[in-house]
């Protein structure tokens, strides 16, 4: 390779000459984008890394960064096994190429779990090649060589840097099997490593899809049906087309797009559109949803049974005591701070796209189908995402940009306003749960029933959730109503509210049984261990461990004057999180003073980032439990910006304390698992403070204002 080459050329070259091993990638195609220094002569070792003679190690991080810290965590794992000097590591977002990287999506907190071993092998294999190259050079056995911080050392005192060895090492045949480090030898994993994009974020570099710009690019905003259940009848764009900066107004898929020379001009012109919408499906109100949810729970006849252990009916007949409650939550928008947007440039036989997507592979396939192109003619550049929370698992906004570009035959960026974003659907579904538990004279749970009713959630239960496995007679069933209101995954899908309902109900059961809430769960876990009933999908010991740890750290059982504690524990997305909320009464109002969390996500990759995720998830869980509410009138979302929709703010957050179990088990994700337990811990503590059970979210709608 030549020394002087453009970044694009370099990337093309390495993709072609590096045995197809490295695929670099640039979306910094605008002059406004910061130049990224690519070291000349860098040598590809495998799909994940290359090393330059200067010693700079480039690590490609394949998964979309949404704020979960994956762009830092993945390279840490590679660098650990490589024994790289982190100061000399530069991280690049890899292109979408699932042949090379398999799972390139952000969802289900699954990236670390999926890629842990692959990433370690990528680093360890390259390290092996460097050691072999040094041993060959020195004519010594490789076993006499060690590595540290970017150097290979020999027992004789000889030492060569990775950069000095890169040329020869890259030619070594990679081993088929490679020995990985013992956990005790980790020196980077488990430390606090700062986000690799920090500097670009903190100096305002254009990192996000919203910031994407190309020469000659047009801007568009799109008017979509204002109510769920409506479609486009006709429109008149005469006035809009007269407005400054407007290039075109086109319609497709029940939408009207205004294309222009700037975002602001298109936003203004959209207001001048005269559009007639017509009803296509029933226009629903929130009161309809409340009624439908309740009706579904009145009958088991049409419910789908997901799990049935023992004989629930008989057990309830012989119950000493029955506890029964219903819990309900509303629809929620995701409200990622960066509204939806996407860039697309249709070129006839191909399309170039760029933007924020949690599922770029799905977007690629769907765009290919939509425009009748082969998938490899659809390129998608992955931009950093200003949050996602599940919204960007849906590809609607990317497809829209692709379709628009194919119509106007020009490069265009579609921007959603906040109103578009909040009123645009793909909400967390509204759900209502009914729980019923039978207790014997000793306060043991003899039967347990859960019926989940939902609007567009499919199955709103998780049938194998604890306490399933610990109860002889158990029935889990669901009912679902199909609504025109579009729904989708929202951070910790289903469990973001189911956890709250389950954990609050268990608190009620403990009270009825005259047992301490933690003790009740421990007894159930003991039972599941000694005489399991049916399938058990959770690890009993890990469940116990986080519960004990949080109890110890929060001083559970020790009386603190004026302070009430509420407990909650949840197994979510392969990680275990227990939380205890401290609530006090200030001027007659409950105040969440503190939340203590114990987290078992196995090995902690990056302590700083892991803590940040847990803190954020607790704040998110509290904020949405308190305030989150999306209501409808004649199919129209009633909240469409922050004047009507309240997100938690700086002045509302409690003190938070996080403890990791860090048990050396292979790591699992942390983007979602710390959110589900929060609502339950808080509601249980509020009950102890006020004597009032909170059955519905948002709490604020039940005249429970926090002081």
């Amino acid at each position: 390779m030549k020394n002087a080459q453009s970044r694009r050329d370099f990337l093309k070259t390495t993709a072609l000459t590096g045995g197809g091993l490295v695929l670099g990638f640039s979306w910094f195609s605008s002059k406004a984008f910061a130049p990224v220094v690519i070291t000349a002569n860098t040598l590809p070792f495998n799909a994940y890394l290359s090393i330059a003679p200067s010693g700079i190690v480039t690590i490609f991080s394949p998964n979309p960064e949404i704020g979960q810290g994956i762009k830092t965590a993945f390279p840490i794992i590679v660098a650990e096994e490589l024994d790289a000097d982190w100061e000399k590591v530069q991280v690049e977002q890899a292109a979408l190429d699932t042949k090379r990287f398999e799972r390139q999506l952000t969802g289900g907190s699954g990236a670390i779990k999926h890629s842990w071993e692959r990433l370690r092998k990528a680093g360890a294999t390259a390290r092996y090649m460097l050691v072999e190259a040094a041993a060959k050079k020195w004519s010594v056995p490789a076993a006499e060589c060690t590595t540290s911080k970017g150097f290979v050392m020999h027992s004789s005192g000889k030492k060569l840097s990775y950069g000095e060895l890169a040329n020869e090492a890259a030619l070594i045949t990679p081993p088929k099997d490679i020995k990985l480090k013992a956990n005790s030898d980790f020196s980077l994993i488990g430390t606090s490593v700062k986000g690799v994009d920090n500097n670009a974020i903190l100096t305002g570099k254009p990192l996000f899809g919203m910031d994407y710009k190309r020469d000659g690019m047009l801007y568009a905003v799109i008017q979509r049906p204002p109510a769920f259940g409506q479609k486009l009848k006709s429109f008149d764009a005469t006035e809009a087309k007269k407005m400054a900066g407007v290039v075109d107004v086109v319609s497709f898929d029940n939408k009207v797009a205004v294309v222009g020379k700037s975002t602001w001009q298109t936003m203004q012109a959209r207001k001048a559109l005269q559009i007639v919408w017509e009803n296509d499906k029933p226009l629903e109100n929130s009161a309809d949803h409340d009624r439908i949810l309740k009706e579904m729970l009145n009958s088991s006849e049409k419910a789908t049974v997901h799990r049935k252990d023992g004989d629930v009916e008989t057990a309830f007949k012989s119950a000493h005591k029955i506890v029964e409650s219903a819990y309900q939550c509303p629809f929620l928008p995701h409200n990622a701070m960066e509204p939806m947007n996407f860039f697309a440039h249709f070129k006839g036989d191909s399309i170039e796209m760029a933007g924020p997507s949690q599922t770029p592979e799905a977007a690629q396939k769907q765009v290919a189908k939509l425009l009748n192109l082969p998938p490899d003619k659809v390129t998608i550049e992955l931009t950093r995402m200003g949050g996602g929370f599940g919204r960007r698992l849906n590809t609607d906004y990317a497809l829209e940009a692709a379709e628009l570009s194919s119509i106007i035959k020009a490069p265009v960026k579609v921007t959603w306003t906040r109103e578009d974003d909040m009123a645009g659907g793909i909400y967390r579904p509204a759900v209502r749960y009914r729980f019923k538990a039978a207790l014997d004279k000793m306060g043991n749970i003899t039967a347990f029933m859960l019926h989940g009713a939902s609007i567009n959630a499919g199955n709103a239960t998780r049938p194998d959730n604890f306490p399933a496995g610990a109860i002889d007679n158990l029935l889990v069933q669901s009912s679902d109503y199909k609504s025109p209101i579009t729904t989708g995954p929202w951070r910790a899908p289903i469990t973001n509210f189911l956890a709250y309902a389950e954990q609050a109900f268990l608190d009620e059961v403990a009270q009825a049984a005259g047992k301490d809430p933690i003790q009740l769960r421990m007894e159930l876990l003991e039972k599941a261990q000694k005489s399991p009933v049916g399938k058990i999908t959770y690890d009993i010991n890990r469940f116990k461990e986080v519960s004990k740890l949080v109890a110890e750290k929060a001083g559970w059982g020790k009386k603190k004057k004026g302070v009430s504690l509420g407990f909650s524990v949840y197994f979510s997305h392969a990680s275990y999180v227990a939380q205890i909320a401290e609530v006090i009464l200030v001027k007659g109002k409950p105040v969440v003073k503190k939340v203590v969390a114990a987290v078992d996500c196995g090995i902690v990759i990056n302590e700083s980032s892991a803590k940040n995720q847990v803190f954020g998830a607790i704040v998110d869980g509290l904020g949405h439990a308190m305030h989150g509410n999306m209501t409808f009138k004649e199919g129209v979302p009633q909240q469409n910006n922050y004047d009507k929709y309240r997100l938690i703010r700086y002045n509302e957050v409690p003190e938070i304390e996080v403890h990791f179990v860090n048990n050396g088990i292979d790591p699992t994700g942390l983007g979602e698992p710390a959110l589900p337990p929060t609502g339950g811990a808080i509601a249980n503590a509020i009950y102890k403070t006020t004597g009032k059970r909170l059955y519905n979210q948002p709490f604020a709608e039940q005249s429970t204002t926090l002081g």
Binding site: G67, D211, T263, I618, V653
Partner: protein, 154 residues
């Protein structure tokens, strides 16, 4: 349309836009200063925070014609290399998750600290409550403001 002269981060710019265009969109679309973010367009979230003559001001509802003679500072002008004490503190505390709101957060913090080098928790709360962080990094924002204050004293 009108030719508007602006002074941003100590540099002079001229741009031909509708006088009513909010400063935010002039920065982002016309001047390639995309560090200032669009979040809500109604001065509720603080993602678009800039300094106008040193005052933290939301740029999404501010007509560009209103700031023609003002000294405008954006995140790019806080320090291009990231060595403003607020940027340093934000990095040391490792504040960002997604990072989208953080330029607005930092502009609020920098305006506070320029006037009050020793802010109390109440002062910080008053200055930062106007900025939403959907990722919930508020605790780190608090710690970073405190750290930036100690850095500015040195």
């Amino acid at each position: 349309m009108a030719v508007i002269s602006l002074k941003i981060n100590g540099k002079s710019y001229q741009t031909d836009v509708d006088a009513n265009t909010p400063l935010l969109w002039v920065l982002r679309d016309h001047l390639d200063l995309a560090g200032t973010k669009y979040g809500c367009g109604m001065a509720m979230c603080g993602a678009c925070m800039v300094h106008i003559n040193g005052e933290a001001t939301r740029s999404c509802v501010l007509p560009v014609s209103a700031v023609e003679n003002a000294a405008i500072t954006t995140i790019e002008g806080l320090s291009a290399t990231g060595n403003h004490p607020v940027q340093q503190a934000w990095n040391e505390i490792d504040v960002p998750q997604c990072g989208y709101c953080q330029s607005g957060q930092m502009m609020s913090a920098a305006a506070l600290l320029a006037k009050n080098s020793n802010p109390s928790d109440k002062d910080i709360e008053a200055a930062m409550t106007g900025n939403i962080c959907r990722c919930g990094t508020y605790h780190r924002i608090h710690d970073a403001v405190k750290l930036a204050a100690t850095k500015m004293k040195k």
